[in-house]
């Protein structure tokens, strides 16, 4: 982990690969290191403080459970803290309108748009449903596109 301690910006300037994919999402290694340390520290710290402090106030049989609860609250708190300290790296692209045309989709899926239309026309239940959902027009537009 020696090279993790460089700041991510210098890494970016050198155009090296900065991110690591952990459990399906990208993270910055040194931030993750600190996040893990914070989380483990707070939850185990909370648990041990509970074990040390509680015997004087709570009944003996509940000390372990209450301490565990303090530890859990600690890890939830660390989730909030780490999210504030280390902002998400994900790039969220909010598509305002559907970027692809229906025609393109049908071509990619190797489907015949006219056949699909015919099936919809002949199936009153599906047609009504599409109408209610307000998407029937995008299907009907297929025919226009096909004519071109």
């Amino acid at each position: 982990m020696a090279d993790n301690h460089k700041s991510p910006t210098t890494d970016l300037n050198k155009k090296t690969k900065t991110y690591l994919e952990i459990l399906g999402d990208t993270i910055l290694p040194n931030q993750l290191l600190f996040a893990v340390l914070i989380s483990v520290g707070i939850s185990l710290g909370g648990y041990n403080i509970g074990l040390w402090l509680l015997p004087s106030i709570a009944s003996e049989s509940m000390v372990a459970s209450y301490s565990l609860l303090i530890g859990i609250l600690g890890s939830v708190f660390s989730l909030v803290l780490c999210s504030i300290l280390f902002k998400p790296k994900r790039i969220l692209v909010e598509e305002e309108t559907s970027s692809e045309s229906m025609k393109q989709v049908f071509e990619d899926l190797q489907l015949d748009p006219l056949e699909e239309l015919e099936l919809i026309e002949n199936d009153p239940i599906t047609k009504k449903e599409l109408e209610e959902f307000g998407v029937l027009n995008s299907f009907l537009a297929l025919r226009e596109e096909q004519k071109k």
Binding site: M1, K15, K17, T18, Y19, L20, E21, I22, L23, G24, D25, T26, I27, L28, P29, Q31, L32, A35, V36, S39, I42, S43, L44, Y47, S65, L68, G71, I72, S75, S78, L79, S83, F86, K87, P88, K89, R90, I91, L92, V93, E94, E95, T97, S98, E100, M102, V105, L109, L111, E116, L119, I120, T126, E129, L130, E132, F133, V135, S138, F139
Partner: protein, 451 residues
């Protein structure tokens, strides 16, 4: 009466927490369900409340994990993988919200069909329970071989049964000689967080690191919202067409009976059967999604309930993975001797408290994902970083291991996580196989070496 209220409160807790967790995509089912369920059990919740919590958590998570699956085209977790093709078709046609509504309506139907079916089947199978209980060791071993054969790794999983059992038993002996008690939570926490820990190990290895390096942050494409429907609590039956209702009901009923197969396998199978009988891309995708999500839900619920009612030993992939704390969470629940939900609850109570969990999850997660799916996922994705999530689960694992056996527990958990995680990620020996070997290890070592 107060037990009923406690159960409702725990179900509420499960439904709220897991509705939020479901929005985070790509989460590992076992790694998340196990620690949180363990916490509830160890905190001293009554068995009935634990069961309501678990049921609410399962349904809520599956209802909201449909959100990333439908809106972003990334599976909410492993059980959503088979649905991704159909979800993508609808998403690209510009109708991710329809995909989402079909999925969660199917899920709700599946859940409510599975509960009574599974309770009845569990009760029926219960008459063979004595046979199962008296020969748990050999059953676990045979089941380990069977599950290993159907795991991703196939032959290597079978090959590793004895070495992994040897490994488990050795750790058990070492920790026993230090603490003078047998550990269990630390072991299966290790197996559960294996995949996360494996990624972390990759990150610290200068040779393995290359495989997980990325030059830019992961990009998520979120589809636009097209609100076309009014009201707050839509009737799930009205979202589906008559034909979809019939197909969903039949397939979820069948899959409630096949509790030994993996939910992912059943989902693909049923989806394929129904999909191949449906014409037209739109109809095929919507019908398949409703059916598949319903089947996932019903298999999942049945796989937990049937072994709990009938045997008290975890004899299904879900019972071995996410549901394992319901069977084994010492000192509260144990499998050997059987002292867990099986002993504490009657079939009727399983039905009652299961229904409480499912109803509360439906009341919270269903309208939530129907109405606020997009807003909520934008909020979660913008505010909660992956660093914080991974760190929280490592922290929770440390906490639980420390609770069981102080520093020994932590070292043991991460030793198991390192070995189990690498076996899982690299060789495809899944967590279910590892759990089964863990249960079988005592019998295997006794038979081979007499210890």
């Amino acid at each position: 009466m107060s037990l009923l209220i406690t159960a409702i409160l725990f179900a509420l807790l499960g439904a709220i927490v897991f509705s939020l967790i479901g929005l985070i995509s790509g989460t590992d089912e076992t790694a998340i369900m196990v620690p949180l369920t363990l916490l509830v059990i160890l905190l001293g919740a009554p068995p009935a409340a634990v069961f309501s919590f678990f049921m609410a958590a399962v349904l809520a998570k599956h209802l909201t994990h449909a959100v990333p699956t439908a809106l972003m085209g990334i599976p909410g977790d492993t059980t959503a993988v088979p649905l991704i093709d159909h979800a993508n078709t609808l998403r690209r046609m510009g109708m991710p919200h329809i995909a989402l509504r079909k999925m969660i309506s199917g899920g709700i139907i599946g859940a409510f069909i599975a509960l009574p079916t599974a309770v009845l089947l569990g009760q029926f199978l219960g008459q063979f329970a004595d046979f199962f209980k008296s020969s748990t060791g050999i059953i676990f071993t045979l089941a380990a071989i069977l599950i290993a054969f159907f795991s991703k790794g196939k032959w290597v999983s079978i090959l590793m049964i004895i070495p992994f059992a040897f490994f488990i038993k050795s750790l058990d002996l070492v920790s026993f000689s230090i603490l003078d008690k047998h550990l269990s939570i630390s072991f299966f926490l290790g197996i559960a967080i294996g995949p996360i820990f494996c990624d972390l190990l990759f990150a610290t290895s200068s040779s393995a690191r290359k495989t997980i390096e990325r030059d830019k942050a992961k990009e998520y494409h979120l589809a636009p919202e097209t609100k076309t429907w009014k009201g707050y609590f839509p009737n799930p039956l009205k979202i589906l067409t008559g034909r979809q209702q019939v197909f969903t009901s039949i397939t979820t009923f069948i899959s409630s009976l096949t509790f030994v197969f993996s939910p992912v396998g059943m989902t693909s199978l049923m989806g394929e059967i129904v999909g191949s009988r449906t014409k037209g891309a739109y109809k095929k995708s919507t019908t398949s999604l409703a059916v598949m999500n319903g089947v996932t839900e019903s298999t999942y619920i049945a796989e937990v309930i049937i072994p709990l009612i009938a045997f008290g030993i975890p004899l299904s992939p879900v019972a071995l993975g996410p549901g394992s704390p319901l069977f084994n969470a010492p000192p509260v629940f144990t499998v050997d001797p059987i002292n867990n939900l099986h002993t504490y609850l009657t079939s009727w109570e399983f039905f009652l408290y299961g229904a409480i969990g499912l109803i509360i999850a439906s009341l919270i997660a269903y309208p939530f994902s129907m109405n606020y799916a997009r807003k909520a996922s934008v909020l979660v994705m913008k505010l909660v970083s992956q660093e914080a999530i991974v760190a929280m689960f490592i922290g929770l694992a440390c906490l639980l291991a420390f609770h069981e056996a102080q520093l020994v527990g932590i070292v043991l958990t991460f030793t198991v996580a390192a070995v189990g995680g690498l076996l899982n990620r690299i060789l495809g020996i899944g967590a279910g196989v590892q759990f089964m070997i863990f249960y079988a290890s005592t019998w295997i070592m006794m038979t081979l070496f007499g210890i």
